[in-house]
């Protein structure tokens, strides 16, 4: 057993877990954060993507013990109260989901992608960056549209913030 402690969605959490506990199981079963999904056994589908210390990672391919001491953001930590995060809003607006199973991972991958490309995104980049996220329903088209739209809204928002600050 290991004593793990981490910050999840801004909240300090800790617990004693078996060393083999995957981060995704710690999130889902110990913390009840079931927004993060498990879609495969092979680390390929991306349904489990969360941010660990600010970077997108597959929570099914990491032990909770490895994550101890880290800061984790899950899909539950994105919205600001009742206000959806711009990426969530764009998925809704552009019908970027059907069954919704892949959506939490898609959105966590998308927010990470947008953060790493403050200069903006194009379709080819978005498709290449979605390499590790599989969707069985949408055919990706509307997911790509939603991410491109969110990237635009977010860069506008950060520019106007910068203007205000100046």
């Amino acid at each position: 057993m290991s004593e793990v402690s981490l910050v999840v969605n801004g909240r300090k959490v800790s617990g004693a877990v078996e060393d083999r506990t995957l981060l995704v199981h710690f999130l889902r079963e110990h913390l009840g954060l079931t927004g993060t999904h498990v879609g495969c056994d092979t680390s390929q589908c991306g349904a489990c993507v969360v941010h660990v210390d600010g970077k997108a990672m597959k929570s099914c391919t990491m032990l909770a013990a490895q994550a101890s001491g880290s800061t984790v953001t899950t899909i539950e930590g994105l919205a600001n109260g009742a206000d959806l995060h711009p990426v969530q809003a764009a998925f809704k607006e552009h019908h970027g989901l059907q069954c919704g199973f892949c959506t939490p991972g898609m959105i966590m991958t998308a927010t990470d992608m947008i953060r790493r490309h403050p200069e903006g995104l194009d379709e080819a980049t978005v498709r290449a960056e979605l390499e590790g996220n599989i969707c069985r329903c949408t055919g990706y088209h509307n997911i790509v549209k939603a991410i491109l739209a969110a990237s635009k809204t977010m860069s506008k928002a950060s520019k106007s913030k910068a203007k205000k600050a100046a």
């Binding site: 993507v49 391919t61 390499e131």
Partner: protein
């Protein structure tokens, strides 16, 4: 996953001490080892996590000499500005390993220690004539990679870094397997002081190897046109449900052409 005990190493010395517990294994990015443990293909009794050893992380470039710490992630190799100036081909290679989440955790040390016959880095290190540095010794890439998932590493030996002298020209091209993105065939070519080297991954049935035919043609002229009409024997190439040895033999030449074009660009 079977039960396992997790240990966090604070230094290389500490890791070597901890690896002596039971049937322990080193854990770096975990992008190969953890999936293998989940499917019970690997079942170590203990894991010694190398991620918190500061000495194993980071990239140093001094003149043409490049040293990359074993626990440096694919993401950090892909985006390192100093490395980009002296060997952009290695940054490009790292930027096409798996997907963004895999690149945020997977490490160069884990990749070379694992020596997957379809992994990208082994071809680069062999073509760059790199040296693999461990806690015990320094090994030339030619001596380090031994076959399918086999290296010269002893059980408790840790890869601490890889180092090489950046060649005048280098390029990599891979034909990714459409499902896994691992190389169905990948070729890394270099032209430096010691001549031309071309290493092939994803194709050999004994792992990464240097192609004599490609090297001979490119030594005459380091241009894609030099590979026109060159053929590589399909004997000793891999056969699986994705491609026959003959198909891979052809891919070696096609990927070598693209790699040379990338190197000359």
């Amino acid at each position: 996953m079977y039960s396992v005990n997790y240990h966090r190493a604070t230094s290389v010395v500490d890791a070597v001490k901890k690896i002596k517990t039971g049937d322990a294994k080193y854990l770096s990015g975990g992008m190969t080892l953890i999936p293998a443990m989940k499917t019970r293909l690997a079942a170590p009794s203990d894991l010694v996590d190398l991620n918190h050893i500061a000495d194993l992380k980071g990239i140093k470039v001094s003149g043409k000499t490049v040293t990359i710490g074993a626990a440096t992630t694919h993401f950090d190799v892909a985006n390192d500005e100093k490395l980009m100036k002296v060997c952009p081909a290695l940054c490009a290679l790292a930027s096409h390993i798996g997907d963004p989440a895999v690149r945020h955790r997977g490490t160069i040390g884990g990749s070379v220690a694992n020596n997957d016959p379809a992994a990208d880095y082994p071809s680069a290190l062999l073509a760059l004539g790199a040296t693999i540095v461990t806690n015990k010794r320094q090994l030339a890439a030619d001596k380090f990679f031994k076959g399918l998932f086999e290296t010269a590493l002893k059980d408790d030996e840790i890869v601490t870094a890889v180092t090489f002298s950046a060649p005048a020209k280098a390029g990599y091209a891979k034909f990714p397997n459409p499902a896994s993105r691992y190389a169905m065939t990948g070729v890394f070519v270099t032209k430096g002081k010691e001549g031309v080297r071309a290493a092939v991954t994803g194709a050999g049935d004994d792992g990464v190897f240097r192609s004599k035919e490609v090297e001979a043609a490119l030594t005459k002229k380091f241009e894609a046109s030099a590979l026109e009409g060159v053929s590589v024997p399909s004997k000793n190439l891999m056969a699986d449900l994705h491609a026959s040895p003959e198909y891979r033999a052809n891919l070696v030449v096609v990927m070598a052409k693209r790699a040379v074009m990338a190197a000359n660009a």
